[in-house]
């Protein structure tokens, strides 16, 4: 089942003589259960793309479809509902509320509007167990390590059972051990819970935990690499593609899937 369809997506900032195309006719799709990485050099349009999918920004042309829903047609309140019900966020800077306990941070998206789920406690216990947070629920974010904080963010992202989790440089603030641990948890989420994840990253090691990497450059689709074989082999191919994309002239390695 197709979860995300990015359809001729174009975003142009500025006007008349000072126009910059952050996204330029970008097309790709993500299927349910995939763990997709988005990579590209700085200024490639990764954050703009994420903002479009998160309905934090609106496209100039084209559209994004998530779970069969065209995002450009959503009103503000529908967009809020979409973010609440269909999306989960994992931010580089965690964006946890410092005055709420871990438990309250995780269940927060469920408490915004009625009807509040009756199985909130069970959901909390489940995500806490999956992400190894069961013993930390009564703590506050500043009493956790950075890796634990990012796991809380991940728990908050998955507690609403969204169609898609967006992760924006989730390991950017973590040391290598915490980053690896988090990525293992994300992989576990993806495999055991069948959660679809889209992750923006600069880092090839982080990307190697995905199933597929979409490379974009200058706002357009450049190439993609799909995982076959071991993670080390996948990692090597990502490095190769990064070299290609940064080196410039080489032709696109593969064509986008329909």
């Amino acid at each position: 089942m197709r979860v995300v369809k990015v359809d001729h997506l174009t975003k142009i900032y500025g006007h008349r003589f000072n126009r910059v195309a952050a996204l330029n006719d970008l097309n790709f799709q993500v299927d349910a259960g995939e763990f997709v990485g988005i990579m590209g050099p700085s200024g490639a349009g990764k954050s703009t793309l994420l903002n479009m999918i998160a309905t934090l920004d609106t496209p100039t042309l084209g559209d994004v479809w998530v779970a069969g829903q065209a995002l450009s047609t959503l009103t503000d309140s529908e967009a809020a509902q979409y973010r609440r019900e269909q999306l989960g966020f994992i931010f580089q800077t965690f964006n946890l509320l410092p005055d709420l306990t871990v438990a309250d941070n995780i269940t927060l998206p469920l408490t915004f509007v009625p009807p509040r789920p009756t199985d909130m406690a069970a959901r909390l216990a489940h995500v806490a167990e999956v992400l190894g947070l069961s013993s930390l629920l009564t703590r506050y974010p500043d009493q956790l390590s950075l890796g634990q904080r990012q796991r809380v963010t991940a728990a908050r992202a998955m507690i609403t059972r969204p169609s898609l989790i967006l992760a924006d440089e989730p390991t950017g603030s973590l040391d290598s051990m915490a980053a690896t641990e988090l990525l293992q948890y994300l992989t576990k989420l993806n495999l055991a819970e069948d959660v679809t994840i889209m992750m923006v990253t600069h880092d090839a090691f982080t990307a190697s935990f995905c199933n597929r990497i979409i490379f974009i450059r200058d706002g357009a689709y450049f190439a993609e690499v799909t995982r076959h074989g071991t993670r080390q082999e996948f990692f090597d191919r990502i490095i190769d593609m990064e070299a290609t994309i940064n080196g410039g002239g080489r032709r696109r390695a593969t064509t986008p899937r329909d």
Partner: protein, 671 residues
């Protein structure tokens, strides 16, 4: 430098304008006051009705100085809060290598520009305000003088000079603050505050202690009159009692904001019903943090709100007292004793008197006794129920009475105050008129005297006609008057009033014990009690209106200034706190919290913080006003008082909504 100045002003436009507008409002009040005192014609007019010609200008100048001093302190405080908020911006300039001297010049120039804007706006508003103030003052002082907009060059120049100096000093202080702050601290001026977590045992203990102190202070303040009376009777230290209540109130209020309210919010946050509703959870969590982190400013604003409401409420109560007291003192146009009646008829002639209302009373010494001991001995003008009922027809404010057998009603001055002190010692008082061994039971106590209290030596006693008939005591006739055209008799009435005719009555121990009859006359030997032989409403109204009208005017101006200061402090502090929460609100929006819900949470958080000083200030002020009200015989609020309360609440709510609006500006997560 010019470009830097423009950028800096633009970047902080909201807070700069806020500062300028608040300072302008205060300058406008000062200008209007100064322009009024500079207007000779106006001061001459108010001088004619005041106790002394210099009374009004003197009071207005004292008020002006007080307001100016308060405003300087307030501007210093507000400026301090605002410069701390800009520390990180200035830190970046310093990081990029801008010399401190250049920064100092920038800050002084910026402050002077704000000063210029304040002077311009403030003087303009002051000119407009001056007419309004004159109208208000004249109306409350019952004068018919009117005037246009007041322009006083000397007042404008004096205030412009003072304000530019104040702003120059603020600029220099800002420059000194920057120079003395290490760059590292300037770049990170608000280190992340430790989140408010679960409360420790100590905090729970302190919460209990704070609430105990505050509760004790409130109970003490509520019973202040009776406790003070008890303390004075038993020889305890009254200042110590008042000091303890005050200290308990202050410490308790501080503890309330520092510990008790955050702890109570923490208890609520743990309730499952709250945790299941993001709006309630976020409102309470933020409130807990804001109250604890802003406990000093909340304490300060609570004191300011207390002062504001006390000043405004007292102003209204005292004004009401003057109006009520006037009517209680002289019910018709005039009231006299028999001796006073001869003088009035001689001076005015019978043709000027539209109606004379005679009231026969008997003057007797009486002894009041409670259930558990002695009351007191004093003089009573005894009135029959039928005479009382007859007076009620021309004096509608008198309460209707029904008396049987030995029942009686006593009229006394300061009824409410006395009922809080020795009169409360007994629910039933027996009164004996020893000369004739007449015994009555006092079933009701009032402060309404037939024809007005001025005509009485001390108390009045209304008894049944049978008791009155049996009472053997000298007759003391009183007369109430309605004049044909009191306005045309102004001069004659003023001349009569100036005679200051006094009647005396014997007040010796023998007379009070009934061993000798009570005598009256113009000049008696020995211990005497006095009353005015002639009471005239016109002259009394003029002096009362002038004095209490001025009092109300002063109270209003002080109240308004304090109110603006309270609102501005809360606004700036909440704005800073609200802007620091912007990241959290963005996160909530990204997580899908509906924008309307986020707005509601912000509005609730902001209004709750505004409401706290208002609620506790109103509670504190209510106790002070209750005390004052008891001392002034409970004059009530009147329609004017309710209007004051409504205007106060409206201005305060405006500050609250303005703060919420500024915090919410540009909140939408979508581009």
């Amino acid at each position: 430098m010019r470009q830097l100045l423009a950028t800096s002003l633009k970047r902080n436009a909201t807070t700069n304008w806020l500062f300028v507008l608040v300072a302008s409002a205060m300058l406008a009040v000062l200008y209007a006051l100064l322009a009024i005192t500079d207007d000779d014609r106006l001061m001459q007019a108010v001088g004619t009705v005041s106790a002394t010609p210099d009374m009004v200008p003197a009071f207005l100048i004292v008020l002006l100085v007080l307001l100016l001093l308060f405003e300087i302190v307030f501007l210093l405080y507000l400026n301090g809060v605002m410069i701390m908020r800009r520390m990180d911006q200035i830190g970046v300039y310093r990081l990029l290598g801008m010399p401190t001297r250049r920064l100092a010049v920038l800050l002084v120039a910026e402050s002077l520009l704000k000063g210029l804007a304040t002077v311009g706006i403030g003087l303009g508003a002051g000119v407009l305000l001056s007419k309004f103030f004159v109208m208000m003052l004249m109306r409350w002082m019952a004068l018919k003088t009117s005037t246009g907009l007041l322009w006083s060059t000397s007042a404008a120049l004096e205030l412009a000079g003072v304000y530019l100096l104040i702003f120059a000093v603020l600029g220099v202080l800002n420059a000194l603050a920057i120079a003395s702050t290490p760059l590292r601290r300037a770049l990170n001026p608000t280190p992340a505050r430790t989140p408010v977590r679960r409360d420790s045992g100590w905090q729970l203990l302190l919460t209990g202690f704070s609430l105990f102190l505050l509760g004790g202070a409130y109970v003490g303040a509520y019973n202040l009159i009776s406790w003070t009376y008890t303390a004075s009777v038993r020889g305890w230290s009254v200042p110590l009692l008042w000091g303890m209540i005050l200290v308990a109130g202050l410490v308790g209020t501080y503890g309330l904001f520092r510990t008790a309210l955050p702890t109570l919010a923490g208890v609520l946050i743990r309730l499952p019903q709250v945790r299941r509703r993001a709006s309630a959870l976020l409102t309470l969590t933020d409130l807990r943090k804001r109250v604890r982190h802003n406990s000093h400013s909340l304490f300060l604003t609570t004191l300011l709100a207390t002062m504001t409401i006390t000043v405004l409420g007292s102003g209204v109560i005292i004004y009401q007292f003057s109006q009520m007291g006037l009517h209680q003192a002289i019910a018709l146009d005039g009231v006299t004793s028999a001796r006073g009646r001869d003088i009035v008829r001689q001076q005015l002639g019978d043709g000027q008197i539209a109606q004379t209302v005679p009231l026969e009373t008997k003057l007797a010494a009486g002894r009041l006794q409670g259930a558990d001991g002695d009351g007191d001995r004093t003089l009573y003008n005894v009135i029959s129920l039928s005479a009382y009922t007859r007076i009620r027809r021309v004096q509608p404010g008198l309460p209707a009475l029904t008396l049987h057998g030995d029942q009686a009603v006593m009229a006394i001055y300061s009824r409410v105050l006395l009922q809080h002190t020795w009169l409360r010692r007994s629910t039933q008082w027996a009164l004996t008129l020893p000369r004739t061994a007449t015994h009555v039971m006092v079933t009701q106590i009032t402060s309404q005297f037939p024809l007005g209290g001025t005509a009485y030596f001390d108390r009045a006693l209304v008894v049944t006609d049978a008791v009155y008939r049996e009472l053997k005591a000298p007759i003391d006739r009183l007369y109430g008057y309605k004049f044909r055209a009191p306005a045309r008799l102004d001069k004659a009435l003023a001349a009569l009033d100036a005679r200051d005719e006094v009647d005396q009555a014997t007040y010796s121990d023998q007379a009070l014990r009934g061993q000798r009859a009570v005598q009256t006359g113009a000049e008696l030997k020995g211990s005497t009690m006095a009353r005015s032989a002639i009471g005239l409403k016109g002259p009394l109204t003029r002096v009362t209106s002038a004095t209490f009208g001025l009092e109300l005017f002063i109270a209003l101006l002080m109240g308004l200034t304090l109110m603006v200061a309270t609102g501005a402090i809360l606004l700036v502090k909440q704005l800073v706190a609200g802007l620091q929460e912007q990241a959290s609100r963005r996160t909530l929006a990204q997580l899908g919290m509906p924008e309307s819900l986020i707005r509601r949470v912000v509005i609730h958080q902001t209004l709750a913080v505004f409401a706290l000083p208002l609620v506790f200030g109103a509670l504190n002020a209510g106790l002070v006003i209750r005390l004052l009200s008891a001392v002034l015989d409970d004059p009530g609020w009147g329609a004017g008082g309710l209007l004051f309360v409504a205007v106060f609440a409206l201005i305060y709510a405006t500050f609250g909504f303005l703060t919420a609006r500024l915090i919410l500006r540009g909140m939408s997560p979508r581009a």
